[in-house]
Amino acid sequence: MPKFHTVVGRREFMKALGLSGVALGTVAASAPVFHDLDDIIANPSASFKRPWWVREREFGDPTIEVDWSLITRQDNTKVMVGGGFGPVVGAELQAKLKAETNALQLADVKNNTPGATLRDWALYSACGSFVDQSVMNYVQPIASWAPGTAPQVFSWTSVPGPEYFGATKWQGTPEENSKMLRAAMRFMGASQVQFGELGEHERKLIFTKHNRTKKEIVFENVEKAYETTTKHALPDKPLWIVSVAIQMSKELFRQGRSPLRTAANGSRYYQWKGVQARTQAFLNVLGYQGIGYPEFSTGVISAQADAILCGFSEGARNNNVSISPEFGTVVGYFSLLTDLPLSPSRPIDAGFFRFCHTCRKCATECPTQAISHDSEPSWDIPRSSLAPDKEVTWTMPGKKVFHTDFPLCFTQFGQHPGCGVCMGTCTFNVNGASAIHEMVKATLSTTSLFNGFMWKADDAFGYGIIDEGDRELWWDYELPTYGYSTALTSKHGGYNR
């Protein structure tokens, strides 16, 4: 008897479905789930995860044998790095070694010895010299940031220039210089760097006055930047923009309005302090200058605009935020100016801004409803709903964007403990372990057809701000150093796996 429309019997089908259910249930049950803080504390893995082949021994019993009866407290001035070398070997040998190594250093630079060229010593000067017994130790510029006591970091030059090595300033093509600076700055802590030329248009992005120091920012016919009690002076000569990205913890930005989120936001500034100081030192050794931030938070040029113009990111629905293909929204941008010729990087189109035309996730989640819900961006800047009788003074016209009501935003962002919900909830604030994220990005870069679906799917799958009840779970996570992956844009060494 012929079977009509089915060749799969109901019984067989239900049996297969049952097996699938068992399989799915087993996998779900094996997933680690914590329900509250007690669960976490009870979790036996109080230590960090080690490979299975690492065995723990008893307390006080390392693999090196110890006889505590022979051990007494050590005078640390007797150790080699504490000054103990000279008294042991004698001042004569010490002086001889120093003279020899200094001569070798100069000879290496002169001969362009691989591994000891001027740029290699520049990296050493910026990062390594303070742990060395070198004559060229420099003063740490980041010891203090208290007003009046901080060294002048805006145009800091407290390292020897190329003349110390008997060399002339570094000469390379803009492309070579860009590669060199990127390698150095990534090593020093920048997540990634891009470059731009400070042309006629970009000069309009230089502020007239600094928001914290309250000093005027002016161009002068000088060779080097300097500052006085009333102004930050920039040299009126060809300059290049170094746009710097420093990532922040995506997990912490998913905490909503929380001091944990603000901890992540602050992390980029203390990292930037080190990156800026070391970049300035690096450039100084090469014979160039790095014109940085006069204080920790703000420079002399709009860093967000630089990030977009230099091709780090695209503008977002919240026009105070931009979206990077690699880092998403949870990243801070900084800008440094230099007279080292660099190869400008181009703006990008990954379909993000177009996606923001459809997606309103940040606008919906915004606690103050300061982010525009419009379908199309506009040249016109609306007045703030908080002060409809006041002219717009907080931003510049000339960009067709979705205009955020910044005074309204600041009623949350500017108050304890800050905000950043828009960045945390953004569809692009995702990690990289699931293949779906790359597929989504590739799709929306190619066509806008599925933008609405992607936005809704992101919401349905639960990405974004986490539930309040889960926020203390962060303390149990084993996240990377600094709370983010530093290997996202690395190509060599096998780190980006």
């Binding site: 019997g9 297969a16 799915l24 680690p32 995702v430 293949a435 799958f461």
Partner: protein, 90 residues
């Protein structure tokens, strides 16, 4: 991890081909297509399930099982039953 999964899938596919040859079986084009689609969906689910758990996104992980994994398994079961029924009928 993906090296191991690739090896496993390779061995399974080879085993399937060997079994089919031994029993003198063959799949129709649509049985094969449904099976391949089911297998791709299942692998995609496995990747995204464990990826989402690694990302601390348990809701996304479970939804991948439901939205892509379950249809994938159904397609695989369908492919198998279509072939089995066809052979049995013959």
């Amino acid at each position: 991890m993906w090296f191991m999964i690739g090896m496993l899938v390779g061995v399974l596919v080879l085993g399937l081909i060997w079994l089919m040859k031994r029993n003198n079986l063959s799949l129709t084009w649509y049985e094969g297509l449904i099976g391949v689609i089911g297998m791709v969906m299942l692998l995609f689910t496995i990747q995204n399930y464990f990826g989402s758990l690694a990302e601390i996104e348990p809701k996304a992980a479970n939804l991948f099982l439901l939205v892509i994994g379950l249809p994938g398994i159904i397609l695989l079961a369908l492919s198998w039953q279509l072939a089995a029924r066809r052979v049995k009928k013959a």
